[in-house]
């Protein structure tokens, strides 16, 4: 009697399946409670990884709700790689369809933001340019110049006040969120990711720059304050090259 890893794995994630035959206690009897140690280890370790990866989501819904939700998530989306630091990539889509969380419409975007912050935390190091470099560029060349941006950078657009919700759950004395769309820029000036509330125009500008387009092509929105956007990027050590 051989126990295949397929059958061992299937019952780990499906509590309705009995422990595979061929596993025994020291007296040679079926060992279902012993098998349950592995079931429990898998569920608890993956749940703990999600708790660690989504601290704001966890705080927003509470420990009991989060762990119950994680139990559903981990069976639907077991990890595809041993890099647990990135586990939970499908959480935004999952939350959009997860019936018990339907009343909290902003949860998927909070999950997106937390994923972006984790990616930023582990993103490649980048050496920023001296902000002075920008002023050395001749005015007639500025609009045809392009910039390379740090790999930690990410933009999250939301119909909900995700910046305010994030701050209200991570910092003392943060103002209560007011209902409005918000767009967040994730940066990592040194080793810790930061979030910044930015305008739609600024977000479009940065997204265009990320694609490698010249500065001049970002000027499609008259509400854009290009100077402020560039100083935010430079101040956050997010510009690694200007060419």
């Amino acid at each position: 009697m051989t126990v295949s890893q397929s059958s061992f794995q299937a019952a780990l994630l499906d509590p309705s399946l009995a422990a595979p035959n061929g596993l025994c206690n020291p007296d040679g009897q079926q060992a279902s409670k012993r098998y349950d140690v592995y079931r429990n280890n898998v569920a608890v370790s993956l749940t703990d990884a999600l708790v660690a990866g989504f601290p704001v989501l966890h705080k927003l819904v509470g420990d009991q709700f989060f762990r119950a939700m994680a139990g559903v998530y981990l069976r639907k989306h077991p990890p595809k790689s041993p890099l647990m630091m990135y586990y939970g990539e499908e959480m935004p889509q999952f939350l959009r369809r997860f019936q018990p969380a339907q009343s909290l419409k902003y949860l998927p975007d909070i999950a997106k933001l937390e994923i972006a912050m984790r990616r930023a935390y582990h993103a490649a190091d980048a050496t920023p340019i001296d902000p002075q470099r920008l002023s050395e560029i001749a005015p007639n060349q500025l609009l045809s110049s392009r910039v390379r941006l740090a790999p930690a950078l990410a933009i999250i657009r939301s119909d909900y006040p995700i910046h305010a919700i994030y701050l209200a759950n991570t910092t003392a004395d943060a103002p209560a969120p007011i209902m409005r769309p918000e767009t967040v820029l994730v940066t990592r000036p040194n080793l810790d990711p930061e979030i910044h509330l930015i305008s739609q125009a600024s977000a479009s500008c940065i997204a265009t720059l990320m694609q490698g387009s010249p500065l001049g092509e970002t000027l499609t929105d008259e509400t854009l304050d290009l100077g402020a956007t560039l100083s935010l990027l430079l101040g956050q050590s997010a510009v690694t090259e200007i060419y």
Binding site: M1, T2, V3, S4, Q5, S6, F8, Q9, L12, G22, L23, C24, N25, P26, D27, G28, Q29, A31, S32, K33, R34, Y35, V37, Y38, N41, V42, S45, L46, A49, P78, P79, K80, S81, P82, L83, M84, M85, A120, Y121, H122, A123, A124, D125, A126, P151, A152, R188, L191, D192
Partner: protein, 284 residues
């Protein structure tokens, strides 16, 4: 078979599993810790604080890289992407040791984040040896293989765990990581003698010892069921089993593993001090 990398070994001193919350405390006063162990997978990001800290620590301490995700006991082929990430880490860090587990954790592209057991048969022996050959050839270094904690036995097993491990070392030239707490946990759970296990273990192949805490439970028959949790202090019978082992093996690099409910540095350092005392009682 690979040659040993002769100038870059773990010292026969206590080490601890590195936790980022201890970063400043370790740099300020590491005594009695002589080396650090990291989980490989936590340092496979592209940059940022984890890698910056590791670079800094590696200037001060010999580092042991301990993998938890390679799935050496897996029925399928090793994950080539994961092996490439491991090679990248080992190449830039040049650690004093690399170790992994006699276990599987990935099947059918799903990673289960636990060390799952395998039966000990000629078939699994061949598979484990093939995977270890591939790892050692890719990394161009010897690896250590760790004995697991067992909660159950496979009816199909035909080899004892010690015989299985001995034959793995003979066929691949790998070393062994002897987890004394795992020996105690398995022996309790499977009603065998931990001393007999140590007596039968190929101690000359041991490059590192692990110690950790476990939880106590019972199975449905009321028999004790110990669970390897790495979340508590090391119990006295495990310290006694360390003494028993060291008397036979001589001093070995000895690690305190505490991964869950991690204590403040002084409590962890006190466990390392107790390991230093055990090591000081034996001579090479």
């Amino acid at each position: 078979m690979l040659d040993h990398n002769s100038d870059n070994h773990l010292p026969p001193l206590p080490g601890v599993g590195y936790k980022p919350q201890h970063y400043s405390a370790i740099l300020a006063d590491p005594a009695p810790v002589g080396w650090l162990e990291i989980h490989a997978e936590n340092y496979m990001g592209n940059g940022g604080r984890p890698i910056a800290q590791l670079r800094h620590l590696a200037e001060r301490f010999p580092i042991s890289v301990h993998g938890v995700g390679l799935s050496i006991g897996g029925e399928g082929a090793l994950d080539k992407d994961h092996l490439a990430r491991l090679k990248h880490l080992v190449d830039w860090l040049n650690p004093a040791s690399f170790s992994e587990h006699l276990a599987w954790s990935t099947h059918d592209s799903h990673f289960l984040n636990d060390l799952l057991p395998l039966p000990y048969t000629e078939t699994t022996l061949t598979r484990v040896c093939d995977h270890i050959d591939e790892v050692q050839e890719t990394l161009n270094r010897q690896m250590l293989l760790e004995n697991p904690s067992s909660y159950l036995a496979f009816a199909e097993s035909t080899l004892s765990e010690t015989e299985f491990l001995r034959r793995v070392t003979q066929r691949t030239g790998c070393g062994l990581l002897l987890d004394v707490n795992n020996v105690f946990v398995s022996a309790t759970n499977l009603k065998t003698s931990p001393q007999d296990y140590i007596d039968d273990f190929p101690l000359t192949a041991v490059g590192e010892i692990h110690l950790g805490g476990h939880d106590e439970d019972e199975d449905e028959t009321g028999a004790p069921l110990l669970i390897d949790s790495h979340g508590a202090a090391i119990v006295d019978p495990v310290w006694a089993l360390l003494d028993y082992t060291l008397e036979r093996s001589g001093p070995k690099p000895t690690l305190i593993e505490w991964d869950n409910d991690v204590p403040d540095w002084p409590e962890l350092a006190a466990e390392a001090t107790r390991a230093a005392t055990a090591l000081s009682k034996v001579t090479a």
